[in-house]
């Protein structure tokens, strides 16, 4: 709808340059955290392709031993681990636990989840190694 110029809103919209996230370390780390999703999604896509190839043992073997695939894992793993760390750091924000009158410290809640993540990873590794080990 066309409004007369005088009635148009004069509110100031602060321009936000596209590189705002380079200005401060905290902003850059935020952007890095948000961009971990590309590697999380990328790995899910890899799993999908791996599953699609898993009807043929030779194609599957070639894929898991391919140097290119290993390089992609080397690049993506640190980003996915960064997702894990930042995600688990947020657990105290959604999990509020009271022990009597006292609120359980957010550091403790996050630490327990980090420890749980490590233990769970080791358990999965040990189980898979027991089943599929060399």
């Amino acid at each position: 709808m066309d409004q007369p110029a005088a009635e148009k809103s004069k509110e100031y919209i602060r321009p936000l340059p596209g590189n705002w996230w380079m200005k401060k370390k905290a902003y850059s780390l935020f952007m890095l955290r948000e961009l971990t999703c590309v590697f999380v999604g990328g790995y899910a896509l890899y799993l999908l392709i791996l599953v699609a190839r898993a009807t043929d043992q030779a194609a599957f073997n070639a894929m898991v031993n391919s140097p290119g695939i290993i390089v992609l894992h080397v690049i993506a793993l640190p980003m996915v681990i960064y997702h894990s760390i930042t995600w688990i750091n947020l657990t105290p924000k959604v999990l509020i636990i009271w022990r009597g009158e006292e609120r359980v410290s957010s550091t403790l809640i996050a630490a327990v989840h980090h420890a749980g993540w490590i233990v769970l990873s080791i358990v999965i590794f040990v189980i898979v190694r027991a089943i599929a080990g060399t």
Binding site: A44, V64, N65, H83, W117, S121, V128
Partner: protein, 111 residues
């Protein structure tokens, strides 16, 4: 309050975030490093992949992280100052996650 699909996408984003945080790093170590390092055999991994429990696991590892990506990526694009002129970005990312989920289901059942 206006009706919105937001809670559905946010829940899937969140579920994907949890699953990715706790399970993806070790899964990546298993698929990317354990075989070349000869900690697990490719034949053993191949057989394990066909177990029904692993297939359920892989379904969750594919579908939920895709929805996590879709939701976060969409907002990251906006945060980077990139304009979604056509307005199709949300549709495109969620549709990609839905298609990925369906394909995962098809491939995993077929195994």
């Amino acid at each position: 309050m206006a009706k919105s699909n937001e809670p559905i996408w946010w829940s899937l984003f969140s579920a994907g975030g949890v699953v990715a945080a706790f399970f993806l790093p070790i899964t990546m170590i298993l698929t990317g490093f354990a075989v070349p390092a000869e900690l697990i055999s490719e034949n053993g991994l191949y057989d394990l992949l066909h177990h029904w429990l692993t297939r359920v696991y892989l379904f969750l590892m594919i579908s939920l992280p895709l929805f996590h990506w879709a939701h976060r990526f969409r907002f990251a694009v906006a945060d980077l100052g990139l304009k979604d002129k056509s307005g199709m970005l949300p549709v495109a990312v969620y549709l990609a996650a839905i298609v990925g989920t369906i394909l995962a289901l098809v491939f995993l059942i077929r195994l």
